[in-house]
Amino acid sequence: MPLSVIPPSAFLLPGAPRPSQTVYTLTLPTPAFDVIPPLRRKIKGRLAAWGVPDAYADNLLLSASEIMTNLVKHPARKADTVQVQLRQEEGRLVLDVSDDSTPFAAFMAKCQYAAGDRGHDGVPEHGNGLRCILQMHSEVAYIPATESDDGLNHFIVRDQLKIPAHTRHAPLLASDSMPTPRKLVFLVDDNPVTLDLHKKILQEHYTLRCFGCAADVPAAFAERRPELVISDLHMPGLDGIALRRQLSLIDGGDAVPFIFLSHDIASAHRLDVNRLGIDDYLCKPISAERLLAVTARLMQRATQFATAVQGRFNKQLTAMLHPAMPRLHAGWHIATRSHAAEAGGGDFILHHKNGDRMLAVIADIMGHGQEAKFFAFAYAGYLRSLMQLFGNDCLPAPFLSHVSRAVRDDSFLDSTMMTCLAFELMPEGRACVATAGHPPPYLIARGGGACTGDVVDIAGPLPGLLADHNYQQKDLSLRQGDILILATDGFFETLDREAILSALRQAPPAAEAAADRLWTSYQDALQRSLLAADDATLIVLHYGDEP
């Protein structure tokens, strides 16, 4: 096995310039075994959202698990905090686990041992973790705290795999990688000759299930719903009309288009077509062209109907999740901007006023599309009820602790991932923030014409990740003209500190104007990077008088 440990200097370390970087960070307290399985689930979710292929994701999950296990078992002094970071550096994926425990001694020697030792029976009982890490990744480095810029130990793995640009922000959709499945049609006719004839006409375009006996259809229908049923009218036993009625009793059966094919056109005309929910009736014998045309028309109509219903549902959910904040509160001017990705999205903002104090939450549901939007809706309802319960006398950190316990106790909510940041706005420019896996805000000072500032130093684990975790919060005191910027990671992934400061230098000292400048810069940066627009939400909080 080649030993592939590379010098630390070959890595872009935290603090160094990081071009086109996307970062996902999980902060954990003292590592313990029970933290590792949920950590794997969270990382797996993020890698899936980034469209990382399964085989490569498996390697990263194993490495993260091995590194964390080492931190549980081996350091003489345990870590107080561990940060697990996934970064995309110029399209390559990096796993960086940093901690403040006793450094891992003689790393190179251990690597040599792991690479060379084969044990008693070819596979040793110990040292396989490092052996796996060395074998799975093209570049591995360990930077002890004594040699790193930030005083933390860093275990870093990086691979040459280049993630396609179009998947960096969005998941691979089924339609990107899979051919569209052929639509399923049920053909029902007691005459085998007719059944075979219609099968030959349709089989090139559709997946067919043929039934000589109508009584067999309901069970097959319940098992897998077809896109269309084409049935004879007169059949022994269960006839076409009775079949249609039976299928209507099955949940959703009414929504499947149904065509009668019959020699007896007179009987067909006497049918109460509307009451039976029949989409068409055709006279035998029928030409191949006509059968194909009618089938295609009904399929298209059904698709249009489904799309319209889905679109209306999506629009209603989007409207309900649209960020709404008061524009002025206790001397704070507030502006929001948001973008929901085309197929859906999972950002939302909630707030709860109590006199001159206001508690608010900005949240981001991992994932994309309808599912993320649905979970955002569910989460928003859950958080809204928690705000009603605790909002009046609850600060951001205890509120997040409530949220985390609720998520951990609820298997439905725990089945997806959410990051959120809670903040409280008070008079005289006082604010307080706490985060649960959410990007920290930026605090920008604009006094005396200058524009300086940086990210607020606050971190916390994802809601539900740790049992009974007590979140920390940061008190802030803003002066007249200062700005606090909060956003979901879709925004901060695209605009870094320099870009934020540059945008604000050109903006008049007002929340709406600052939000306009930042949002324009964000959209320009997205366009330049050619990345797909992800969900993003921005809140600009400007303290003080505005022109």
Binding site: I36, S65, V123, E125, N128, C132, Q135
Partner: protein
Amino acid sequence: MSTITQNYQLKNRPDYSHLAFVGDLDAATVEAIRPLVQAQMPPLCRNIIVDLGEVDFLDSHGVGFFASLLKRCHRNGGQLYIAAAHGQPASVLRMVGFNNTLVVYCANSSEAEIRAETAA
């Protein structure tokens, strides 16, 4: 602890022991079940079937545990059979060098049982 013990099922047969795992086989699980399995398995057990059909994730501690079981089998003149390894666990076993000169891979548990009985 009760949930951890539900992560495996051990059946001791006359010619072999059948050890089936469920879920993630990582450091936490192995630390919990290793002493239990060692205590419940006959000391002179020659053949062990490890059934990974229900295992979704395997780490180096799981591999280390298998290595200790392999040693036990070899010491008693027997063999370790790995049944139904798939996906990530199968990749890890290949990566660390658990190849068929050391253990016998079987497509499923019943195949492993026939082989273990025949070998005994």
